[in-house]
């Protein structure tokens, strides 16, 4: 009687193990690899050429004979034309020319030009007399895209004031523009 009971207990244990094993076999194939998932990301950045600016032409207002009052002339950066705004000085030729700058950098990037100053005074060679130049203007939008060759050209005009009885001579000065990526 005692022996029979022991045999039954062993049978139950054996069946239980078989059942557990089958359950694990059934589930292990689809699920066991699913404890970690690797992933990759890309990192990227772009280093661009510095903007290099070349001056193609200076800003020339030309030749004048002064008058008896202040006289203002504007040089149009789009077409290089000189227009008299006021006064009685007379433009007598020379070569009025808009300044021109070419920026070189990474093709198709956007650049912006800005004027380094609002006004300057140009000074007579060998003397101290001055004339004011202001209203520096560009031939269109300040913000432009470099072309496929990585270049864009800006022209710059301005406004000159010739004083009454301005001292004769050659007057010179400098102005600055900045061209940067933005």
């Amino acid at each position: 009687m005692i022996k029979k009971i022991i045999i039954n207990a062993a049978d139950k244990t054996y069946r239980s193990k078989v059942t557990l094993f089958m359950a694990c076999a059934a589930c292990s194939l689809p699920f066991s690899p699913a404890i970690a998932a690797p992933a990759s990301g890309e990192t990227r950045t772009t280093i661009n050429q510095s903007v290099v600016v070349t001056k193609n032409a200076d800003l020339f207002f030309g030749d004048f004979v002064p008058g008896g009052s202040n006289s203002v002339f504007r040089l149009n950066p789009r077409n290089g034309n000189l227009n008299q705004r006021s006064g009685d000085a007379i433009a007598i030729g020379g070569t009025p020319t808009a300044a021109s700058f070419t920026a070189s950098g990474t093709p198709l990037l956007r650049v912006r030009i800005s004027s380094g100053q609002n006004r300057i005074f140009i000074v007579r060679d060998g003397g101290t007399e001055r004339m004011r130049v202001n209203r520096f203007r560009f031939d269109g939008r300040r913000n432009r895209s470099l072309n496929a060759a990585g270049e864009v050209t800006y022209r710059v005009g301005g406004q000159l004031r010739v004083g009454p009885n301005q001292m004769p001579g050659t007057y010179r000065g400098t102005f600055a523009v900045n061209i940067d990526y933005f």
Binding site: F31, I35, E42
Partner: protein, 156 residues
């Protein structure tokens, strides 16, 4: 007369949890944007939590372009804990068409709260962000630089 107790029974509990496979998709790459190199080494870091890039040192100049932290979404068993880990601390990204390199290191992992270890939400998802630090060399050669990095997201 009752029979004597010759056998006893004791119950033991057994449990097993079967989880859904974790799957990970990449939402975005780690992109530092456009620069002009300077005369000194320059370091920039993208914050994994905010996605904002800051300049740590140097004189290189940021000139725009797209800047983004990397982003990955893991999908698995709802409410399970899943942790993200990086596979490397430093990589070199290489100029396309060239051999010049820049170092990207300090990979920074987290979610919006800065946590690397997350509990998947009710739909079984969590999103992880990756930031990092870029070093631009002095007079770094112009060009597009690319590289790849690995992360692993696993159940805890």
């Amino acid at each position: 007369m009752p029979a004597p107790a010759l056998a006893d029974t004791i119950n033991s509990s057994l449990s097993a949890e079967v989880r859904q496979p974790l799957t990970v998709i990449k939402n975005s790459d780690l992109i530092f944007g456009n620069f002009v190199a300077g005369a000194a080494n320059s370091d920039f870091r993208i914050d994994a939590v905010t996605g904002i890039m800051t300049q740590l040192n140097g004189d290189a100049v940021v000139i725009g372009g797209t800047t983004s932290r990397a982003s990955f979404t893991a999908t698995g068993t709802p409410f399970a804990q899943a942790n993200i880990r990086r596979s490397q601390n430093s990589i070199n990204i290489v100029r396309v068409g060239g051999t010049e390199t820049m170092r990207v290191n300090d990979f920074w992992l987290g979610n919006r709260a800065g946590l690397r270890d997350q509990i998947l939400d009710a739909s079984g998802q969590a999103t992880y962000f990756v930031g990092g630090r870029l070093r631009i060399g002095a007079n770094q050669a112009p060009g597009n630089y690319r590289g790849s990095f690995d992360v692993t997201i696993e159940y805890f």
